[in-house]
């Protein structure tokens, strides 16, 4: 990865986006689980952020089949 010729492939980028999307989705949900005193449940900003993370994960999934093509 630290060679002068390494470049991210579409697959690697896809995996990265998938991990960020899934991780981000879980982290946003954790706000309510960890901060149990919060009122109002999942708010509108949180819902939008969850949708964005889900979209990012889906985008990542669609890139994985493109294999070793440079990203």
């Amino acid at each position: 990865m630290f060679s002068n010729t390494y470049t991210l492939s579409k697959r690697a980028l896809g995996i990265l986006l998938l991990v960020v999307g899934v991780g981000g989705f879980a982290a946003i949900l954790m706000i309510d689980i960890l901060d149990v005193g919060r009122e109002g449940g999942i708010g509108p900003s949180q819902r939008i952020a969850l949708a964005a993370m889900a979209a990012l994960a889906l985008l990542g999934l669609t890139l994985i089949p493109l294999g070793d093509t440079p990203a």
């Binding site: 990865m1 630290f2 060679s3 991210l8 890139l63 093509t69």
Partner: protein, 535 residues
Amino acid sequence: MKSSSSLLSRFQTAALIAATIVLGFLLYVYLAYAVNLMQFPFDYDQGEGFELVDTILFSQGRQPYLDANVYPFYASNYPPLYHVVAAPFVWFFGAQYWYGRLLGFLSSLVAATAIAWAVQRNTGHRWIALLSGLAFLASNTVYHIGPLFRQHMFMVMFETLAIVVLAGVNEVASQPRRRRLLLLGILLLLAAGYTKQLAAFTAVGAFAFLLIRQPRRAFFWGIGFAIAAGGIFLALNLITNGEWWNHVIRANINQYNLDQTIGLYRLWWSLHGALIIPAALLVLYELYFDRLSIYSIWFVFAVGVGAASGQWGAGDSYFSTAVAAMCILSGIFAGRTLRGGWRFPTNYLTRLTRPLSGLRHATAAGVATLVPLLYLAYGVATFHMPTEGFLFDDLARIFNIRPNTNFAFYDSAGRIAGGYADIGHLTTQADIDAGWQITHIVREAQGSAMTEDAGFSIRAGRDVVGNPTQLLNLASAGLFASRELIGMIERQEFGVIVFRGQLYPVDVLQAIAAHYAPETTIGMNGFTYIIMRPR
């Protein structure tokens, strides 16, 4: 076949000519607005005067990151570069608004030129390159803030230059030249960040691009960038005894209004949709069929910045970086379409769409027909013009364009979204006269004077007391101890207080209401200024 091709070419040319006329006219409107504002000697947009105060302080070898709890209760929440660059003008011309507005205006022209150059370099299509630059200047958002004494457009200029410089850096074979370009790009990113904090997202986008292309390069240059940016940050914090951190970071975390964000995204889409579509299509194309360019990554990050536009004090200006990125991407899309430069290497998506391959030529012809019309549609969607004044009143009458604002000004945005700047109209001699009338009141007042627009105090030769928006920012963050200011108000040490938007913290406003009473109101530039006198 030949005649249909010729017909298509003529249609494209006609559409491009029409788009050039509309966008060229909007450039003329922009010039008229800029020249008008440069002659206006008071605050036009709230906050301009405080940027002038920052500039004056730097010109005197002082800094504006001060303890706002003590007289004159003044502090700035913006990084210093724009004001430092403007400071020499103070030595030669005194405290004036025109040079700050000129800097902003010239910045927008430089950004537009960089956009056009990027499109020209990518497509070789000069006409589309010209339209891309004009499209940037025609944007309602760019029009609004370009010729103001505000640092935002200065930041957008540095961001655009940095991205254009870094765009082809990985393909440069000569190592010394590549390093020089990387260094230049990173210095421009630093300049953008120390003009306004929002540029941090462009820096993240630029490094994401470098990371995708070559992680090693991104890592080592990223460390250098972090050391430089962090070193300047720490130095400023030390010099200002920690006030830099309080004012530029802590006080800038404000209340968030999701409805304002959604409204501004909708407005951005309704005004710029004709060019957002090709820009987004190019991002998708690069994602699945080509390498991701820095422009695509920048666009994604810049559109994301819009999510912060719902903060108190934010507004449509938060979309100006996205407009710059959009203009480059849509220009590349248009140029490539007109040059027939699309290639679709085989992958699972081309295999999925194989049954539709018979439609490929028809689709290509359809898109080629549509592309020049997009610029025309964009020109119509972003259309704005004064409805009075030389040439404008005749045009308004001929085309039946009526003002849809409180001024002699038509703005296609309609000003329906919260956070959309209520500016863009030309100032009049009556506005200038009203400004001098308020200045006279401030000059003649007994004791001190406190004005929500700094310009009146500057013109009257008084101390500029209090920066209301920053005091409110600080109060919201629990960083403002209002006791001393309220004490001065209670003792009626101010002979006059001039309100514009009543933006001071609540307890300060309550103290003013208890000890001062409105004497008169003066209208300037569409705003009602309330002259408050001791009760």
